[in-house]
Symmetry: C2
Subunit: 278 residues, 2 copies
């Protein structure tokens, strides 16, 4: 069984950062930190990172009393990504390998939380990603799966990234596509509001997983979502948490992600920074 020791210091850091976003009260930061440390001291470290993350952020919400510590950050992501959308859309439309570029852009959008300084920094990181080759490249299989599928779920990841997802969605057979968001706030994950900010609701149907967990933990999703999921032919999965949680999916999944940390690097066998279409 895999052990996710590296996730512990990372999530302890996240808990501290999140509690600071929730409140300026240092006593609350400390209480939250202690609860998270205690929980990690006792929990199994063989649980997938998304579950350890869920545990962490559940404690942060409870101890800080703030249901959405990342609210302001998500607004900022939407603003930055929104300001880049027209320019990127225009560039994509001029490209020869437009579909491939749109996929890379959707993956590149996943780094917005790493480079939140300003739109220019995000833009440069995106340009860099567009010039990269896929470390795992199942482009042809993806094309074929899109053609043969009648019902496609596109599972989004973070707020802001939704604008980049929109660019890819516009290259897909939109009549078959449903976009999936979280039922409520968890970390900086996209909710219905973030899909709406990017105008995705005007293009395709938007549904929620029916819970507020990182990734797509089918056992914690609503019955309605599970039915949607199981009746689909193809899942397009964005980001690391969905990659982890949809590994054993009963439905065909195409994973789009950027390798952001040592744990996923070890799992994919690809270096940090790689972009994967698998």
């Amino acid at each position: 069984m895999l052990k996710f020791h590296d996730c512990v210091p990372c999530l302890v850091r996240q808990a501290l950062d999140a509690s600071r976003m929730a409140t300026s009260n240092e006593e609350v930061h400390e209480r939250t930190l202690r609860k998270v440390l205690q929980a990690f001291a006792e929990t199994s470290l063989e649980q997938f990172p998304a579950r350890l993350s869920y545990m962490t952020h559940t404690i942060v919400k409870r101890e800080t009393g703030c249901p959405d510590p990342y609210f302001q950050m998500k607004q900022y992501f939407n603003q930055v990504a929104g300001s880049l959308y027209p320019r990127l859309k225009e560039e994509i439309e001029k490209m020869e390998n437009r579909f491939e570029a749109a996929i890379k852009l959707a993956i590149a959008g996943n780094i917005i939380d790493f480079s939140i300084r300003d739109a220019d920094t995000v833009y440069r990181t995106i340009e860099d990603t567009l010039s990269k080759s896929f470390a795992i490249d199942h482009l042809q299989e993806f094309r074929e799966a899109l053609t043969r599928s009648r019902k496609i779920l596109y599972i989004g990841d973070n707020a802001g990234e939704t604008f980049f997802d929109r660019i890819l969605i516009e290259e897909l057979p939109m009549e078959k596509v449903t976009y999936v968001v979280k039922g409520g706030p968890i970390i900086n994950d996209a909710t219905f509001e973030d899909a709406k900010a990017a105008g995705i609701h005007e293009l395709v149907r938007v549904i929620s997983i029916g819970s507020s967990t990182p990734g797509t933990m089918l056992d914690m999703c609503s019955d309605e979502f599970r039915e949607e999921f199981l009746s689909s032919d193809l899942i397009i999965s964005k980001g690391q948490a969905n990659y982890e949680t949809l590994q054993d999916s009963p439905v065909d999944v195409v994973f789009l992600l950027r390798v952001k940390c040592p744990t996923i690097s070890r799992d994919t066998g690809k270096p940090i920074g790689s972009i994967i279409l698998q």
Copy 2:
């Protein structure tokens, strides 16, 4: 009272790294991690980072059964720094502001654990440091203190860095100087062997603090060392841990350090990367 919340995720990460240097046994990594998490959940976070670090590394040593997890790393630091010494010594001797450059070099040596890739990387970082101005610059006071002092303790920091300390020591009134190392292994701190590797024992007297703690916690040092300390006129203190632990020193202290983390940045009021002569 200051609270050192930021040190928690950092030291949890250090505990994991150190346990991996001590053994490849993942069960031991996990047990060590849990013990450290438990200890942080319960300890006061108002203790100075050096004390939190001491707690952390005491647990790592006990749980892994390895008295010196950083042994190999320290050998490597000594090798890299040793290979750079002749070149740097030659450059310093040609410089007009030789004393100031030697101080900067001694501070720059403190980054060797951040850039352990190879000698070239270390060399470039050193060149960068030499071109920087001091963020806090008490050079004149330092000169005066050296002249009026009869007994000077130079408290070293890390293995490898000892070679850079040697360059500064060679610019000091050596007959007055005693070099101070740790009584035994703690993190990558210099012990007698590391002073010897740099040949410091041939230039000045080398003594130990009589314990294996980060920084210089006078309450945990030997009686002999405390007497040496209290009978000195001037302390030259290298690095962050000594900066923290010698804040309330009864003897005049000159601090030489590079700001490496947010906690010390907040405390000094200077950005990360700053070099300080205070």
